[in-house]
Amino acid sequence: MKHLITCVALALSTPVLADTLVVQSTTSTENSGLYDHLMPILERETGVKVNVVAVGTGQAIKNAMRCDGDVLLVHSRPDEEKFVADGYGDYRRDLMYNDFVIIGPKADPARVAGAANVTEALQRIRETGARFASRGDDSGTHKKERLLWQEAAIDPDAGSGQWYLETGSGMGATLNTGVSLGAYVLSDRATWISFGNKQDSTIVFEGAPPLFNQYGVIPVNAGKCPTVNREAAEIFANWLLSESGQAAIGAYQVKGKQLFVPNANHKLNSSIESK
């Protein structure tokens, strides 16, 4: 019995996160290994210890609204701006970008590669009856994909379960599904490059302006959430936006390819001009 009590005491004495920072994050930055590259540098330069909870952008925002994070690092600008406007975030800053790409089988049955623009690419997928694997999870990538269908005047929900397959999962899981079925998938470039199960699929469409993918960073408002580690959040955000942080983001490569392009506009101490 004594041992048991000791066990319980040990369990309850596991370190709580009072002195560390919780980042609610999109999955692409975690799955691509960016954090493994950045965090040791951040820790060395600022002393801040970061804990990353990587979920989809939609879930990350909702978690932060429940005060379960100190900083938000996501990629869905309209939602980010709403988060700040609703008072949950102090301010929002552009951090870095990359782009979305359309993944498909090398044989490219829908001839997506020859499309003039994204709208035409999606129309070709629809017309040829090819399958498309969607995140279906309210993530940043999913929101972008829904927007692109809308711009192409196609309602994919009508074909849900037939040609439009909503996995309700993360980027990697959806890529696993898409690759296995020979379906087309919209993915962020970073996740695709570092993805280990490409099999017979490749990038079939890229480079169009609507595929731009901007990441933003938002410290959670201490007024809404008194428990946030405001000081560490500020240090974290400022470091990412600083020359040092931006250089570290730009230096990260997988298989010889740069995954994220830093584009903060070097405005520091920006909490003063917040909102």
């Binding site: 066990c7 040990l10 369990a11 799955n31 804990n51 570092s194």
Partner: protein
């Protein structure tokens, strides 16, 4: 194939990250098991030997709770421990403690329901003897638990199996944070989503080996104890 080779390489090179994750898996599940056993074994036994209106219904609920999806348990514990939840002030979300709490909730019904069945069978046999000896209440619970201890190890192992293999609950309340709350199952989920299928499979093999080891240990101790007792 190369999955097992990779797993084997991680083990023989004593890969620090692997052992950290492995150790956290063991620690969380064993502590959850210890806490759960203290609650569930007496509860299952008590339900087997006492009679009160609604007892059958309690057992029914207990049995039904064995089928509780881990992700639902995770969600409930998350809402409880969230900063905006009733226990948010404790700051336990995204800690190993949160994972232990979720696993306790998950496995307590399993151990309680299984031990209830074991003791109920024993009770048919012992009821009259215990009654004539005046062994009732708490003393009876303890007597049954001691007497059925070998049969109960299987119940406990079932609970451990569920705890160590579970991913849905711990990924929600732990957050799969590297070097803090990443355990074997959440690491497997992460590697799968990175498309590193062979590494994920290799980690699965390591987890299976661990489970085998724990079961062998418990059964070994049981055999040894039983032999000594009757020698």
């Amino acid at each position: 194939m190369n999955a097992l080779a990779e797993a084997f390489r991680l083990i023989i090179t004593l890969d620090a990250d692997l052992f950290e994750i492995l150790w956290l898996s063991i620690r969380v599940s064993l502590i959850a098991l210890a806490i759960s056993a203290v609650i569930s074994l007496p509860l299952g036994t008590w339900l087997a030997i006492t009679r009160f209106p609604g007892r059958k219904f309690c057992i029914l609920v207990l049995n039904a709770l064995m089928g509780m999806p881990p992700v639902v348990v995770g969600l409930m514990v998350y809402l409880l421990l969230s900063r905006s939840g009733p226990l948010g002030w404790m700051g336990l979300l995204y800690t190993p403690t949160a994972m232990i709490i979720a696993q306790v909730v998950l496995i307590t019904p399993i151990i309680a329901a299984l031990s209830n069945q074991v003791i109920e069978n024993l009770h048919q046999e012992y009821r009259d003897t215990f009654y004539s000896m005046g062994v009732t209440g708490r003393r009876a619970v303890v007597a049954y638990l001691v007497d059925a201890r070998y049969a109960l190890t299987t119940c406990i192992l079932a609970g451990f199996g569920r705890a160590i293999a579970e991913v849905g609950a711990v990924i929600i309340v732990g957050g799969n944070i590297d070097h803090l709350t990443r355990v074997m199952t959440t690491a497997i989920a992460l590697e799968t989503s990175k498309g590193n299928l062979s590494l994920a499979l290799g980690l699965g093999a390591v987890l299976l080996a661990l489970s085998l080891l724990v079961n062998a240990l418990v059964i070994g101790v049981r055999e040894y104890a039983a032999k000594r007792q009757y020698a």
